[in-house]
């Protein structure tokens, strides 16, 4: 039954198989060339999604009420309903769609404000993401928020509490 003839045919068969696989791969991959022009599409989608979610959170439930977002910002870095809750609710809003739980989505919330000295300061509201390396491809979405005269609890000490103020909520959004 078994003999040692036909090695050359075997090699030829293997070479033919490799060539056919290579051909199929090249043919399939040339139909969709991933050009430099396509790279911005996921970024744009992520930016639009984050922007929409922030707009949704900034919409009050009732006429002339305060929005969820303003409530979180007023609590600053406090544990209860502060920056971390803001981040979690924001991510929950981003993932609010059918099917995909999208566990890779991460966010970090910052607050920019004008200090009593007149300079602009930026401080993190949510606790830092332990896996953030600084090399992620992030997008930044922002929302302006107006805070009343009184100093809300948990807000940085150099923020003025004798006047109304406009502050900027910045959310860094990326896929891990």
């Amino acid at each position: 039954m078994v003999n040692d003839a036909g090695q050359l045919y075997t090699m030829e068969g293997i070479a033919a198989g490799v060539i056919m696989l290579l051909t199929a791969y090249i043919v399939v991959s040339t139909t969709s060339v991933y050009t430099a022009g396509d790279t911005h599409i996921p970024d744009m989608q992520l930016e639009q999604l984050g922007s929409d979610v922030l707009a949704m959170m900034d919409t009050p439930d009732t006429n002339r009420g305060t929005s969820e977002l303003v409530g979180f910002v007023k609590n600053g870095t406090r544990v209860m309903m502060g920056g971390n809750t803001l981040r979690d609710r924001f991510l929950a809003g981003c993932k609010m769609r059918s099917g995909d739980p999208d566990d890779n989505l991460r966010a970090q919330v910052y607050l920019s404000y004008r200090t009593t000295g007149g300079s602009v300061n930026t401080t993190p509201l949510s606790s830092p993401d332990p896996e953030f390396t600084g090399r992620e491809n992030t997008v930044r979405v922002t929302r302006w928020v107006q805070l009343p005269t009184e100093k809300p609890p948990g807000i940085p000490i150099d923020m003025s509490n004798t006047r109304s103020k406009a502050v900027l909520v910045e959310v860094l959004l990326w896929r891990a």
Binding site: T35, G37, S112, V120, V141, Q146
Partner: protein, 127 residues
């Protein structure tokens, strides 16, 4: 070459055609890497969300200006101008005038100017 062996000329000719064809295909694939680069850069640089964001903030400012003291409004305006310059690299200026009678309603003429060096946006909107 002549009179040596004149067989297989069709094969050589078709081989030449295929080689030229492959050369052109390679050229096209090479060029396709650049397709849409300027479009992508244009889309990414255009600050659509920043401008929308600023408009919202200005409308909030106009809403607040009906209830707050003038000094407080100036503070909010200074906040927005300073933070825009610092965090968004944009020169921003806006003002709201006295209400005018427009289409049966009293609306503030709001002037918004935005310039981040690439995109310039000017608007007068009645709010």
């Amino acid at each position: 070459m002549a009179c040596m062996n004149e067989d297989g000329q069709w094969i050589v000719l078709m081989g030449l055609l295929v080689a030229v064809g492959m050369f052109f295909l390679a050229l096209i694939i090479n060029q396709s890497a650049l397709v849409g680069q300027t479009t992508a850069e244009g889309v990414l640089e255009f600050s659509k969300n920043d401008i929308r964001d600023l408009r919202e903030a200005v409308f909030d400012y106009v809403n607040a200006s009906t209830t707050l003291a003038p000094g407080q409004c100036a503070d909010i305006q200074k906040d927005i101008v300073a933070i825009s310059l610092e965090r968004k690299n944009a020169v921003v200026s806006f003002s709201a005038g006295d209400p005018q009678h427009v289409s049966g309603r009293w609306l503030h003429p709001v002037k918004i100017h935005y310039n981040n060096g690439v995109t310039v946006y000017n608007e007068t909107v009645y709010y």
